[in-house]
Symmetry: C2
Subunit: 284 residues, 2 copies
């Protein structure tokens, strides 16, 4: 019987295993500086933070997970996935690190964990950016002091405004799907978990299928940030065509990797969905 | 900074990632009933036993690792690798689960751990066979009572003869390379670690290369057990040819998977070698 922290680690590993996952590193594709093996090391390194998430403060657990994850040469492998997994582990735990049983991991409970975050959690979240480079947009003019790229330097402004981690995500929920999950009860995460559980076949094959479904459903906000809205919509439409069987998903994967267009937020949602499905009894 | 248990887990993941590793599951190949994702789940499930290995009794830690590893649908994914990793984790640990520093992980120290095992360790080793099917030869006539396939039923005989885990491996060292490592200071493990550290490139690519080198060097005892001496020698010769560049290692990999001939003991040695290299500072 795996603990929530172990299921979270397995979710990270199954996510990167799933192929084809167009544009992202998977079992069959990688980038010159971002390799499959870096994701293995990232998942192992996150271990301590994932275990802490069952009982320690959310922000501190997340920072620890990121620091451990970043201890490999690929850089940012699983930042967004860990940001989703940490509150979900807490929601799935009874406080001592054991699983509290599948009935406990609900959108309501996950929403409660998110809403209960503190200013200290927000400060730890900002400090996590010290360990790794994350692609983010320029903030609105009135939020420059809160730019996550400032890392620990932004903490005084966070404290002065009394912002909790939930508050931080509320301000970026319109342009970042991980933040949107945080402030809305993780709807796409739980929907992905249901789809993974409902499909047949190998878990990694199901995860690849659900990746395409999520991507076809909504433009990836990481692609929007890096390449703009129209590229994100084009990728989303291409995923829909591949999903219908009109084009080959492997060809799309080759094309996106060639162009360096990686729908990373969609991959994060798949990892979170895998976690929820595993907690609810999915067998591997 | 990863703990020894974390490095052991990473070694398991990097081993199965390494491709081509002719005849074994790797990033590019798998068997219908033994999939890449089963190795991910096996490595995660072994987690608790690997952590225990830093301080708890060797046999009990191993049994716990096997029980956790077996909690997936593929069956026996990493039995031999864990059997090598557990004493090596102990040798690399200062007793509280932290790494004791690279200078501590020596063949001498690993040999000492093996030699210090008890009758209770042997009993736990036998109990581990209750969790999983392992391919082994029929024992010699005078050792039928000690057939590992008897699992816990063999424990009274073990206790009656006062056999330690080291004693058990002494009796099979002539036909099982994992046992031979145990009773001889892990020579091929440490040699593999040195080769992995000396090569350039991605760690998983180095591991695949060292797999071929080990296989070319000596017939795989798992193949001997399942297919006989002549098949094992043929596979070894084919590995040597692929290593020289005279044939394509990927073609050899396709051929062996097609025939179901998996040099599993050689893969176990690669996992153990990866662990030693990681403990000694190899970066991923």
């Amino acid at each position: 019987m795996r603990t929530p922290a172990e299921n979270a680690q397995l979710a990270l590993l199954l996510e990167v295993t799933a192929t084809p996952k167009p544009g992202n590193v998977d079992r069959a594709r990688e980038y010159p500086d971002l390799r499959f093996e870096h994701f293995m090391a990232g998942a192992v390194g996150a271990n301590e933070g994932l275990r802490a998430a069952a009982g320690d403060p959310i922000g501190e657990s997340f920072e620890r997970a990121i620091e451990g994850m970043a201890d490999q040469r690929g850089g940012n492998t699983q930042f967004g996935a860990l940001l989703l997994l940490v509150p979900l582990i807490r929601a799935a735990s009874d406080g001592d690190g054991a699983s509290s049983g599948s009935e406990e991991l609900t959108p309501e409970r996950a929403a409660h964990v998110a809403e209960a975050t503190t200013v200290a959690d927000a400060a730890a979240f900002y400090r996590a950016f010290e360990h790794v480079d994350v692609a983010v947009d320029d903030p609105p003019a009135d939020m420059e002091a809160l730019d996550v790229r400032r890392g620990a330097d932004a903490v005084p402004a966070i404290e002065k405004r009394g912002m909790t981690l939930y508050d931080v995500f509320e301000r970026s929920a319109d342009r970042d799907d991980v933040a949107r999950e945080w402030v809305s009860g993780f709807p796409r995460t739980f929907a992905a978990a249901d789809r993974i559980a409902a499909l047949d076949g190998l878990v990694s094959d199901r995860a690849a299928r659900v990746f395409l479904e999520l991507l076809a459903d909504e433009p990836d906000t990481h692609v929007v940030t890096k390449y703009g809205e129209s590229t994100a919509q084009e990728v989303s439409a291409a995923a829909a065509t591949a999903l219908d069987g009109d084009t080959d998903p492997d060809a799309l994967a080759d094309d996106l990797v060639e162009r360096g267009v990686n729908p990373g937020t969609t991959a994060d949602l798949v990892a979170a969905g895998l976690f929820v499905a595993l907690e609810r009894g999915l067998d591997v």
